[in-house]
Amino acid sequence: MTFRRRVRTIYGKELVDLLRDRRTLIAMIVVPIFLYPVLMLGSLQAITVQTQALGQRAIIVAGLGGADGPQAESLAHLQHEYDRIRALEPPAPRAENDLAAPTESAPSGGAAADADQTSAAPPLQLSWAPCGSVEEIEQRVRDRSAHVGLVFEEALTLSPDRRNLVRILYDREEPRSATAHARLEDVIARVAARINDERREALRLPPTYFDPFEVTATNLASPSSILGQILPLILVLMTITGAIYPAIDITAGERERGTLETILACPVPVIDLIVGKFLVVTTIAILGAALNLGSVCATVYFGGFNELIATAGQGIPYGQLALILLCLVPFAVLMSAIMMAVCSYARTFKEAQNYVTPVILAVLIPGGFAALPATELRGMMLVVPVGNMVLLTRELLIGAPVGTSELLTVLLSTTLYASAAVAVAAQVFGKESVVFADVESLRSTFDRRLIQPSPRPSLTMALVVTAVLFPAWFFLQSWMQSTRGAEDGIGALRRTFAAMPVMFVAAPALVAAYWKVNLRGAFCLGGASVGAWAGALLLGTSSWIVARELVVLQHNWFGMSDLAADSAAALERLLRDLSSVELVVMLGLIPAVCEEALFRGFLLGAMRSGVRKMTAIAVSAAVFAVFHFILAKLPVTFLLGALLGWVCWTTRSILPGVLIHFLHNSILTLSAAHREWFSFLPQPQEGAQDHLPAVVIVPAIALFTAGCVLIGRSAAKTAGGGAD
């Protein structure tokens, strides 16, 4: 029975088993299908009812004196003027779905009754609350027995030679008081505007006489809407929720029901079991996400909420839905793996639920932060797990342009985190102590006294370390760049490379030491043969020419973005200010040692057992390329990573790779900083599109080939020697 067939069998059974469970169906189908319509319709109705209620109710105005006193009469005068202009004003076009207009159907009183159906100005109902003093008015507003307080300095008059001073007292924290205040201000503004118009017309002045300016402000910010802000977070949370129940059911639930031992007694490798189960959890999480997305779109579309929910008349970009769902796939994989890893430690369903709660809280922090309107998909947020997915989904949902670089960074970083999480899930599930739910299962993973020494890091350890280092390194780089303005660029560059040994070597070394991994094995620090060293020397002196030619080819075929060209030019300017020794140490030696230690030693070394050679080299090269954060350099960095990976795999040591990397970086850097030393290279004015002369390329390719042959032969000797 093949791996694929076994996984298919397990997958099929688990899917049927889960889909027959009422709880899965409720979480996956019932909740999304009913949640959104109920949420949207319900909340909109609640808002409408509330605003209508506010509009319908008379505004209780606290003022000095009784209902027949001068202050009350002034207010009546104001209302009379308002009702007069309501009767004169033309009707406003009734907006479709304008559910928020509070007083469209509000009953009106007095002279306004006839104007209700015609006027753009909403009707006004007032009720007088007599007070003896201003303090009493304040007290009545505070104790909410009146909505607002109103004090006319003198009796209201519309004579052109006097200005009416009016004081409004209100409580901004009290919605009714705030609404009443807004209404009164609106009433006064409308009356004032009408009187202005009448006076201007009487004097036969043009409309521009009082209004020398007409300002039109256009908001160019991305359209921000309830849909754009809240929906991505809900989608992401529902994807997580979709993974929770199946993850618990097929790990802790299976253990609690006593079926785990049964399945482990079958001739099925644990890894097949994990893959089958993991795929089911991911499927259900994705199905949940798709149903949520579908349900919300259907609610918006059929409910006619498009204009109300998305601002500026923008609706959901239905064409983007497939892309949104595609982006949610690596995220669903990540969350499914995390949930499975966490739940695998639990012995019962209830225990698993307890373990899941802190994970959800941890997810809510970056997710909630990303949902804030001011948070943007750039800088550090590109690599913050969960947060980057919330932001990406938001940008896609509101139809904002998302650059390829941003899209790839989010997807690749999420894929990296997902790979680490899957490895953790596989390791956790495969542990004897976890499978049989020993009390010590959690301790045996983290308690150093229970950890057994090992010659090299596990794949899980390597992937988790890499996945943690990736955002940390990204943050550091962004921070260094952001401080460049305050200090000089060289200072930032120096600090970046000073941080490299700490992050790329010390951090994994500490982790390896804690989990009792032999440090020599952890970083593949074994010796290499003379042939391997000679091959490395040849490769190091020639690879930079090959890499340069590849970059030229890439630029010629695909062009070079202005941004990439500017960054390259800025870096070159910086390099010219550094001494040659500093250049070689900072950009040659430090990256060579640190990157080889992390990517080839720690990561590739961990893949030696259990991962095929080509896959392992490709994975380590891809991670190496992604860590460089420059899209334009991705192909060449990947190829260089693949070359160095092959050298390390073949020689079983990172040391020849360190030499290649050191020579490659040093020569390239020096060639950029000291063009006079490399006069045979085309000058920058001629453009980076120029190939080197054949007299340089041909020997370089010959050296490169000879280097590869020497390295390859050293492998044959190592294999012949029987060393592993």
């Binding site: 059974k13 029901r257 049964t262 482990l264 007694a265 004897e432 006294r449």
Partner: protein, 254 residues
């Protein structure tokens, strides 16, 4: 058919290792029913899990039907049926689906798995409830499904860990009849129990496990002769007292 040779299983604990099984050696011949007896914590379950290829021995070796449990766990699992009283069923699957699933996991293609499931449904008289989800079945019906699951690949070796623990009388009888019938059919059975009357009734040979060590082994008659006692419970208590005097407990931290 089953050979354990100086089998050791240690679990890491704070400050050292705890030996759950300590140098266990025994043999079970083809067609024999061998009872592994011992109190709770004696190491019976750990031994059976090692012999079933579910966990790796720390040292020593064991072979089942000629396959090494450490290096050939899948071959071992192919030739054994594993049953415990705690063994659960997938409650949302029907007996027919469940049997077919396990048959497929044992390497049968879908049509063969379907045929095997049908055969077992008939043979164990499950037709009446073969299409009802396991969650709605009685305990006795569930035990019948469990027996079907054990026999799905018609294994020559059966490993049973406390198969009657906590079962009601009817289910208990069902399992005991099954063991007897399997023994009559020539299957090799490794049975762990602390119900001594069951062992007395079913087993050809008995091994006493105490603190991870085999303190005595033989037929009932041999054990009676050695101790001069007739009842198995008395023999066990006598041997356990002897074992406690002669050996340090294997559960000690090393």
């Amino acid at each position: 058919m089953v050979v354990a040779d100086n089998l050791v299983k240690s679990f890491p604990i704070a400050g050292g290792q705890k030996r759950a099984v300590d140098g266990l050696s025994f043999r079970v011949a083809r067609g024999e029913i061998f009872g592994l007896l011992g109190p709770n914590g004696a190491g019976k379950t750990t031994t059976l899990r090692m012999l079933s290829g579910m966990i790796l021995p720390t040292s020593g070796s064991a072979r089942l039907a000629g396959y090494d449990v450490a290096t050939q766990p899948f071959e071992v699992k192919r030739v054994l049926g594993f049953l415990t009283a705690n063994t659960g069923l997938y409650l949302r699957l029907t007996p027919r689906e469940l049997l077919q699933y396990f048959a497929e996991l044992h390497g049968m293609d879908r049509p063969s798995a379907r045929r095997r499931a049908e055969h077992l449904v008939d043979w164990l008289d499950m037709r009446e409830f073969a299409d009802i989800r396991c969650g709605s079945l009685s305990t006795g019906q569930r035990q019948r499904v469990n027996i079907g699951r054990v026999l799905v690949a018609d294994p020559p070796v059966l490993v049973m860990d406390e198969p009657t623990l906590g079962l009601d009388v009817i289910s208990n009888r069902l399992i005991l009849d099954f063991i007897r019938r399997a023994g009559d059919e020539g299957k090799t059975i490794l049975l762990s129990t602390h119900y001594l009357d069951e062992a007395e009734m079913l087993c050809d040979r008995i091994g006493f496990l105490h603190h991870g060590r085999l303190i005595a082994e033989g037929t009932l008659e041999e054990l009676q002769q050695r101790t001069g006692l007739s009842r198995l419970s008395a023999i066990f208590l006598n041997l356990a007292a002897e074992g406690a005097e002669s050996a340090a407990p294997a559960g000690a931290v090393s």
